[in-house]
């Protein structure tokens, strides 16, 4: 099992690049879904003790919509996609072709639509990585929550924390051109699967 604290700067850069390529594809998919330009920031890679991971979120106790998927295949781990609640409402408006601002609360259909967005973005992200590492990556059925983001991350920490005390997270922030939607895409690779990924990227010994 890789201790994420021992990753070299070259390995960190390689993983960031993986995140960058994945996020670029996810942004293109989101752009096609809503018919607007989507911008992404350079991905941030954090290696943190369990109790500090929740601090990665800008506003940990604000009401957010979270879409969670677990990953299987050559890269196992979790994905959490976060939108501020109001931004999720705007996203639903754009998806459904309604005027932005008309949705005030999420209906079950809206929730399904958001889960579907989560699936599509995650698949785009993963497909890009899968091509890079030459192996398929499979996301689970998505789950949706709206609540404090801090309390959504605890599920991911539970999964990873069984084996480790330090967690690696690759996070990319994206924004729709009119700034009605901002979101965060967070990938938590399982340390057990990092070795294989670093090997296929050719940086396992660098």
């Amino acid at each position: 099992l890789i201790d994420v604290r021992n990753l070299t700067s070259l390995q960190v850069d390689a993983l960031k690049e993986v995140g960058n390529i994945g996020a670029g594809h996810a942004a293109t998919s989101l752009s096609q879904l809503v018919g607007k330009e989507i911008m992404i920031k350079a991905p941030r890679l954090n290696i943190l003790p369990l109790k500090e991971v929740q601090r990665v979120i800008k506003d940990p106790q604000a009401l957010m919509v979270g879409i969670y998927l677990s990953l299987e295949g050559n890269l196992s781990g979790s994905v959490l996609l976060l939108f501020p609640y109001d931004d999720a409402l705007s996203l639903v408006d754009m998806l459904m072709g309604r005027n932005v601002g008309s949705t005030k609360a999420l209906s079950p259909l809206d929730e399904s639509a958001l889960k579907e967005v989560g699936s599509i973005l995650t698949c785009s992200y993963l497909n890009a990585i899968a091509q890079l590492i030459g192996a398929p990556l499979i996301p689970s059925v998505p789950g949706l929550a709206f609540d404090m983001a801090e309390a959504m991350i605890d599920l991911i920490l539970i999964e990873l924390g069984e084996a480790v005390d330090y967690v690696l997270v690759i996070e990319t922030e994206f924004t729709e051109a009119s700034r009605k939607i901002t979101g965060e895409f967070m990938l938590f690779p399982n340390p057990g699967s990092l070795q294989a990924v670093l090997e296929t990227l050719g940086v396992s010994n660098l």
């Binding site: 969670y68 998505p142 609540d147």
Partner: protein, 161 residues
């Protein structure tokens, strides 16, 4: 002056009157409070998983319901608390994500609550209140002065246990 003591995920702290032990954003994790009302000594653990056997050796005891309760009990008794007076409350253990997935991880909250209850029963500690399960996150403030636990949530407002 009461001191506010923050308990992070996989941490456990013991306080005296008038300390207030707080932990934020319990999703599937649970908060377990132990309290000796005579001495006004209280403990709060923010645990992640049901049992130590799920972990490697040398693991942090505050991650797991069984070892966290044991360590907290031991620490409180060292400070003079009496086992027979100690009462417990459990908060959290929600299922945060609605999903058609059969991933057992999504139900870890339920298993955490069950494990905590089992350990309390085995240790003969009375469970006097709980606010557990459902689908929402909770933040708690546990007063070592009153033994009361204030539970805050975005979805259901505030309540006191």
């Amino acid at each position: 002056m009461s001191e506010v003591v923050n308990v992070e995920i996989a941490e456990m702290k013991i306080g005296h009157n008038p300390d207030v032990l707080v932990t934020s954003a319990l999703g599937s994790c649970i908060g377990i409070t132990l309290y000796d009302p005579a001495l006004k000594i209280g403990g709060l653990a923010h645990i992640m998983l049901p049992e130590t056997k799920m972990a490697k050796e040398g693991a942090n005891p505050a991650k797991f319901a069984d070892t966290a309760i044991e360590a907290m009990l031991e620490g409180m008794i060292k400070l003079g608390a009496k086992h027979s007076r100690i009462e417990a409350k459990i908060i959290g253990g929600a299922r945060m994500f609605s999903s058609a997935s059969s991933n057992p991880l999504l139900d870890i909250g339920t298993r955490n609550v069950a494990a905590a209850k089992h350990v309390l029963h085995r240790k003969r500690i009375r469970l006097v209140a709980e606010d557990t399960g459902e689908d929402y996150a909770r933040c708690i403030e546990f007063s070592c002065f009153s033994g009361k636990v204030k539970v805050r949530s975005l979805k259901r407002g505030e309540k006191e246990l």
